[in-house]
Amino acid sequence: MKEKPILIETIDLKKIYGADEVQVNALDGINLKIYEGEFVAVMGPSGSGKSTLLNILACLDRPSQGRYILNGEDVSGYNRKELAFIRSRQLGFIFQSYNLLPRLTALENVMLPMMYQREGRLIANERQEKAAAGLESVGLADRAHHLPSQLSGGQQQRVAIARALINDPILVLADEPTGNLDTKSSQEIIDLLQRLNQRGRTIVMVTHEPDIAHYTERILMIRDGKLASDQKNGRRGAPKIQPAAHLPEKRTRKKEKNR
């Protein structure tokens, strides 16, 4: 693991809200290295700054001070447009509340990030095929033309995962991906993420559920804007429940096990 290249490096990362008297240091000097292929959980009580950290890592927000180097590129000083390009090209997101567009079908939701690609754009038919393959890989081939409102929470989150992966990002960021799900659906999602990671995908996940965090290999504890601990985690064994889905790398298999 150690020989793997560094994907994320933060140097004395700070995020300060307000000014003077009412100044709040949401992040107070975070130094962090995440290597390619890692599955990292970020934990901490609410208000600890873990969401702020994730937003900065996700290029949705900019640090007030310090540097953030993503894949060898210092993005700390990028403007909104440049950050949008980084998000489009290199990042995938999974949200607690899925954030699927309600008027679009599952397939169209998965296709959405391709619309904003600047390079290597595919024509409409190719995009559709790619999105269909993505849905198949999360076990939702037969739900492609359903609207989000016709899907269960777990299914919606799997659509969101397919969407996050569609542009083949180097880093997947998940913000409480199981926060709105029941135990069984949570298990499915975490299994899916674990499988993705086993295929080499780097994942950073914010969670407050220790159970979920234990599926990762490294746990970062954030407290009061500081990195309180950084522990290797003896990864739990094989998932108890078989994942509902195949992974993107195994798109050739057609047969789905539906639950």
Partner: protein, 408 residues
Amino acid sequence: MNYRETVKVAWKSLLSNKLRSLLTMLGVIIGVAAVIVMISISAGTEATISEAIHGLGSNLVFVSSALTRGGPGQPVQGGLVYDDMTAIRERVSGVAGVAVDQQANVTVKYGNVTLENVVIVGTTPDYPTVRDVQVGAGRFFNEQEQQRAQKVVVLGKTVAEQLFGESDPIGQNINVNNTKLTVIGVLAAKGLVSGTDFDQLIYTPISLVFQKFTPSQFARIMGDRVRQIIVSVDPNANMDEVVQQITILLANRHKVSLDAPDFTIRTQADIIQAQESTTSSFRTLLGWVAGVSLIVGGIGIMNIMLVSVTERTREIGLRQAVGATPGDIQIQFLTEALMLSLLGGLVGVLAGIGGSWLFGSLSGMRTVIVPYSIVLSFSSAALIGIFFGYMPAQKAAQLDPIVALRYE
């Protein structure tokens, strides 16, 4: 995101809220239609008026008296006299015909029918040619009858019908202010031209008007003065030259300087021009009134787009998260606003054309659809879409993705 995709996304978003999109467009539809209908009505009126002016007869020069009174007891200075007409006819080249026009109000009786306040026009035999009126039955009076002040009269169509109904008026005697006149002709219907209903007039030799129908208290000061001389210019002659000749001739005859003449000369072109400037300012006014409703429609678009941006805050955040730049978001909302206004404009153009036609056929007023009104209103709608769509689009583009994603 390429433009086709942007248009598709915008179209889908409008379709997802059909009623709202339709109501929003309604403002623009009404505005555009109003511009087209208003302009078509004023253009129709304009065409009617201009045809009426042309209907006065072609190539006319109107010479009018500009009387200046010397004060009580003083003789009237200047003004046109009957002989001026003769002089114009004889001494000005390029004149096709000359007629005078001296009017008086009279009471006309025939049998038991009495018509009060009929306008009697004292004129000359050239009148039908000059004013482009046709004699329907019988004939107009001739030069001899004019010189001898014979008691003959030609009736306008309406007057003839009122007095005689179905029976033939030719050869009958009517009583005009207690003078017995013989009807020798009836003019064909000409109708209302430039405010004068030719069918309501009766026509008689001017010499007779001087003798019989000028009120006695005016007779002394009026003499053989005439209100107006109408000159019909030969189509091949130069109108400006004719006007110049008349001006010099009359100035010499009246011994007045050209700077302070006691007459005014207007050509038909002057009248048309004056009329056109009135109607075109009327048209501009109507256009502006309709334009205001177009602006109100634009404000409607802005209003709905602002609501839409607020409603779709999360969508905007998500689109940004998956790679949309602020520019992408701005273009998307601008396209939606533009689409609303262009669709509204298109429907408005159709509604305007239909509305003009409907209004014309229901009201009997003439409407003329002017192509420039379509271009003008449609392009205004497009401009309004961009103008009023810009602010909401800007608002959407400036949303912070983190805040937008958390928006409930």
